[in-house]
């Protein structure tokens, strides 16, 4: 399955909507897009994972890398309600590292 990445602006946030499977083959494209957004000065990034069918540790690594690239006063938050994806964050303890919202509206409300 292919990966699609769509960027929209909302309330001063940059929303990156991810659709498809994030694994060792597709994760480099997600990484490139995040790096591109950060280098364009987009420092309030919301990654919307609601359209993601599968995500493994390679995808987690890209999101951790994205968080690392942003400066301390900037932010990368996630939108995810799917249990199959949330479980991967839970078993790795990354729910303590990422703010995970129920909707894009909630993630961009601040």
């Amino acid at each position: 399955m292919d990966l699609s990445l769509d960027v929209t602006e909302r309330n001063g946030y940059t929303v990156l909507a991810v659709h498809g499977e994030v694994d060792v083959y597709t994760a480099p494209r997600l990484r490139e897009r995040l790096v591109e957004l950060v280098s364009q000065g987009k420092h309030q990034i919301v990654v919307d994972l609601e359209g993601v069918d599968f995500l493994d540790s390679t995808g987690l690594g890209v999101l951790v890398g994205g968080l690392k690239r942003l400066r301390s006063h900037d932010d990368l938050t996630l939108v995810c309600t799917q249990q199959r994806i949330l479980k991967v964050f839970e078993i790795t303890g990354l729910t303590k590292v990422f703010a995970i919202h129920d909707s894009v509206e909630a993630a961009t409300a601040g």
Binding site: V24, S57, G93
Partner: protein
């Protein structure tokens, strides 16, 4: 470490893929389709199996490094009365599981420097094989669907 024990009375189903990243999705698809077609397994356990196979195949492919385009990763699938066993075998140079680094705790800022090996816990055996390294995964589950027995 012990060699993976095939489930009694069953011949393995084998899938050999090129050691390249684009084939990991195919491995996930085949293994999850086999599991859901032949067993009554809850969807969340199929998801666990897909994740485990994806991680094992990713490691196997990375064990080959770049440019080893002719090398293959071999997946084998056995069915027992109460379990499924999947092995993933590479032709890489192998590694010593005892020498893997421990990562800092997840809340430690240093942890952000680790983009790989994020600690997805798997119950597996690592076995050096003639080809490279073999990782065996076992999932305990209900009996096979009677109508689907080979």
């Amino acid at each position: 470490m012990t060699a993976p024990e095939p489930a009694p009375g069953s011949d393995p189903i084998e899938l050999e893929i090129p050691a390249r990243a684009e084939f990991v999705a195919l491995a996930r698809l085949v293994v999850s389709s086999l599991a859901s077609a032949r067993r009554e397994i809850a969807d969340d356990r199929i998801d666990d199996l897909k994740l485990a196979v994806s991680e094992a195949c990713t490691n196997a492919i990375e064990a080959h490094g770049a440019g080893e385009v002719d090398e293959r990763v071999l997946l084998r699938w056995w069915e027992g009365d109460d379990r499924l066993r999947v092995s993933v075998e590479d032709q890489g140079s192998g590694f010593d599981p005892q020498r893997l680094r421990d990562h800092p705790p997840v809340t430690d800022p240093e942890r952000l420097n680790f983009e790989r090996g994020l600690g997805i816990p798997l119950e597996v055996d690592f076995t050096p094989s003639q080809r490279g390294t073999r990782v065996s995964l076992v999932m305990y589950c209900g009996p096979a669907e009677p109508d689907l027995e080979p």
